[in-house]
């Protein structure tokens, strides 16, 4: 399967009507897949924020992770990074969006969870 076309293609931007693909935040090339020694799937996602000071970059990271965890066929390890040189505080955000405790706490926040859900729900699903 292609993790991009099958899972991530339709993820929406948190503040624009377009998908992350349409805004060139994500593409097929953003995803690298490998395996750990124990054979667990490791998915590395590199995304490009629309602007270098994008204030929603950490929310985009959370959204991508949430979508992958929801739709992957097996339990996988996921690393999400901002493409080098495309954001002014990339190191800071990279650390935050890969810290499992911060992720767990963020996903307990009802407002954040609603925002993530809105971006990850397939357009078709909303009519049923």
């Amino acid at each position: 399967m292609s993790f991009f076309s099958d899972i991530l293609r339709d993820v929406k931007d948190p503040e624009k009507p377009e998908t992350l693909e349409e805004l060139n935040v994500l593409s097929e090339e953003s995803i690298t897949v490998s395996r750990l020694t124990g054979d667990q799937l490791l998915i590395h996602v590199e995304f490009t924020p629309t602007v270098p000071h994008c204030s929603l970059a950490s929310l985009i990271g959370l959204t991508i992770r949430s979508k992958l965890q929801e739709c992957l066929p097996e339990k996988a390890k996921v690393d999400i990074k901002i493409k080098k040189g495309t954001h002014t505080t990339a190191d800071e955000i990279n650390k935050q969006i890969n810290d499992k405790e911060r992720i767990a706490a963020a996903m307990e926040n009802p407002n954040l969870r609603a925002l993530v859900k809105e971006c990850t729900t397939d357009i078709d699903d909303t009519y049923y």
Binding site: L36, T37, G38, Q40, K75, K77, K95, D99, K100, E101, R102, A104, A105, E108
Partner: protein, 333 residues
Amino acid sequence: MFRLEEITTFTGHNEAVWCVAWSPSGSLLASCSGDKTIRIWGKEDEKWVCKTVLTDGHSRTIRYISWSPCGQYLASASFDATVVIWSRKDGVFESIATLEGHENEVKAVNWSSSGSLIATCSRDKSVWIWEVTEDEEYECASVMSSHSQDVKHVTWHPHKEILASCSYDDTIKLYKEDNDDWTCFDTLTSHDSTVWKICFDQSGSRLASCGDDQTVKIWQEYVPGNEEGVLTKGNDSVWKCVCTLSGYHERSIYDICWNVETGHLVTACGDDAIRIFAEDSCSSKNEPKFNLVTTVTHAHAQDVNAVAWNPKIPTLLASCSDDTTIKLWRIIE
């Protein structure tokens, strides 16, 4: 041949299990989870069972639990910004106090060796020390804001009133009481990323740390006037990194625990594995050498979050994971 054999798996939590803690007598195991509950496990007729579930203490993930040295109290730290103290009387747990003060997620709570002090830490970057009064009241004695980021863990020296904390700011800090106030007297830098956990050995002169940089580090205490000639300041000891174990772990290391009896180090890792390291027979204080003696590659189906040696049975180990289970392991030599 040294290996770990799985004894049993506990199921019951509905979300990731973040922490497991043995009671001081080693007879009970407490676990806490993203499902907002604490479970107490114990043996009945040679069979391990869930003896009780504590459901009404917290409104969000319970991140960490710790027994008082006397075994009569359990403290739980939660993302709901509070710590709850539970009292055990005749096998029944009752919440007797809620420690409020942190601004957001509390990440850890631990009792000093005497049981008269409690330390807590939070994403709000602060470390708090609470005094336990004789009539079971808990009063804040000090708030220390030495870290520049999220504080991941706090732990006490095994017999002195010295506190250690580690943080998302990549450092470890040591604190002592000085003229009625608590101050940071040493900052240990060497890790390249978040330090998830720190653990003193039985003597208290060694500290092990682990983190996001996938390494384990061993720190040695040098007291004033030490024979090695390591410079110290005033009456305070300094701590130096004397050993780094790298290349063994493939993901973040979330927990590390010294075995009180054997000195073995066990690690819990985001690569789903449990690893045990033993000190080499030709190791020395200033340049210790540790060897990997066993790895359980698929110890759990997901990240291993915590590991704990039983305080009375040195061959018994507990682990817990994002896969919602807890496992007990036995060392076979």
